[in-house]
């Protein structure tokens, strides 16, 4: 089975922030926000929030970020969920959409057991079986979506036994076989470093950096030897160091700050974005 290669690049996005209703007013005023990402499941294409429509009018790209497809799950992706994501991308005129390499539900369908919803992203075992299923699911999603798809590495709290791939090798083969683009979350690479002992530099060595559509940056905190990817804390030096490592290898088309809770003031958000820009600008100068 020949690899289709990487799909066409959606262009440069710049520095963005995760759009949330709680900080909609601040985002409208923040200087230097080039684009935003929205949680796809929280929006209805026919009833887009007014502040978000104003950003679209100003020409800011809006990228839908899905959390419920579960493309790493054993089942084929749900057609209604895919159609909803496609409709939202059309309504927003989005250059691409993103989702996760994760499973979020189980049971029913393939199994004579009841259905369970995790309500959150769970890691896929990095095995040949799981990779084959993921690739098949990604192709079904790509057929249903009007724009390129980017997939994100998730934060892991546990490890599957008997894995056959490292994270980077798993991502490399996924890209090779499907042409999907990557959303690399550097906070999740840091999470997996603390929680699973996986070196972010090795993951960046092995994954195809030219397939990166954009990068996620977020804060978290460590408790009892476990990194919690909370999106409720400021972005700290360890996560910014992984971002710097990534930017020393490639200039990512976009970098996006995620904040979901304990929102700081507008000044606080601006400072977070400045910290991200300082890293991307510094590494760009060094590369140039």
């Amino acid at each position: 089975m020949g690899g289709p290669g990487i799909t066409e690049a959606p262009g440069t996005l710049g520095t963005g922030i995760g759009w949330r209703p709680e900080i909609a007013d601040d985002i409208a005023e923040l200087p230097g926000v080039d684009w935003v990402e929205v949680v796809a499941e929280n929006l209805c294409p026919g009833h887009l929030p007014e502040p978000l429509r104003r950003l679209r009018t100003r020409g800011l790209p809006v990228v839908p970020h899905g959390v419920s497809l579960g493309l790493g799950g054993a089942e084929r992706p749900d057609l209604a969920r895919l159609a909803a994501l496609a409709d939202l991308a059309e309504a927003l005129g989005s250059p691409l959409v993103s989702e996760h390499i994760a499973f979020v539900r189980s049971g029913g369908g393939l199994l004579p057991s009841h259905r369970l919803e995790a309500g959150h992203l769970l890691p896929v075992p990095r095995t040949r079986d799981a990779l084959d299923v993921l690739c098949a699911n990604v192709r079904l999603a790509q057929e249903a979506l009007p724009v390129p798809l980017a997939l994100e590495n998730i934060a892991g709290y546990l490890s599957w036994p008997d894995e056959e791939f490292t994270e980077g090798a798993f991502l490399a083969e996924l890209v090779e076989r499907t042409g999907v683009r990557l959303l690399v979350d550097v906070a999740n690479l840091h999470t997996n470093h603390v929680n699973r002992g996986e070196d972010p530099a090795r993951a960046l060595d092995e994954l195809p950096v030219e397939a990166i559509a954009y990068v996620h940056v977020a804060g978290g905190h460590e408790r009892d030897g476990v990194w919690h990817d909370t999106h409720a804390h400021p972005v700290g030096p360890p996560v910014l160091e992984v971002l710097a490592d990534l930017c020393s290898r490639v200039t990512p088309p976009g970098v996006l700050l995620e904040r979901d809770d304990d929102f700081p003031s507008a000044d606080g958000l601006a400072a977070e974005l400045d910290a991200v820009r300082a890293v991307t600008a510094r590494t760009a100068c060094r590369a140039g």
Binding site: L79, G107, G109, L111, L116, A136, L140
Partner: protein, 143 residues
């Protein structure tokens, strides 16, 4: 190839269900997982559920105040989510009413809220159709 893929889907379905069931239903964990990390992941899922239900249905925390957290944790302990967060919020409210965990004015407001959300959380005809189609296609081959 499609046969191989179907077999891979079934093996993966079993493995993922065993893990998720251990995390949300407390069934014995599949072999090879670190028990401490399973406990961390279980807590992460529960904390997320507590937080997202409160955010999805702020009326619940408005009605229950400080009792929301203990009541929700008691409800969630034996009840994994089978649908999304909106359905979970509605089921939680129904559970409180059925078990008479709340009474008086909060119970009246909860009854009103549960009735109002009934319509919005029931799967629509399109959803039921696509679910049926997806199920009927699972025996077909993949590319």
């Amino acid at each position: 190839m499609p046969d191989d893929l179907d077999a891979a889907r079934r093996r993966l379905a079993r493995a993922q269900h065993d893990l998720l069931s251990a995390l949300v239903e407390g069934t014995p964990p599949p072999p090879g997982f670190d028990p401490d990390r399973l406990a961390v992941q279980r807590d992460v899922l529960l904390a997320k559920r507590l937080r997202v239900v409160a955010k999805t249905a702020p009326e619940l925390t408005g009605i229950l105040g400080g009792r929301y957290r203990p009541l929700f944790l008691a409800y969630a302990a034996g009840r994994p989510m089978e649908h999304g967060y909106r359905a979970d919020a509605r089921d939680f409210a129904r559970h409180l009413l059925r078990t008479a965990a709340v009474s008086g004015e909060p119970a009246r407001r909860l009854t009103e809220w549960a009735a109002a959300t009934e319509e919005t959380t029931r799967p629509g005809p399109l959803r039921r159709l696509t679910t049926a189609l997806t199920r009927s296609r699972t025996k077909g081959g993949d590319r």
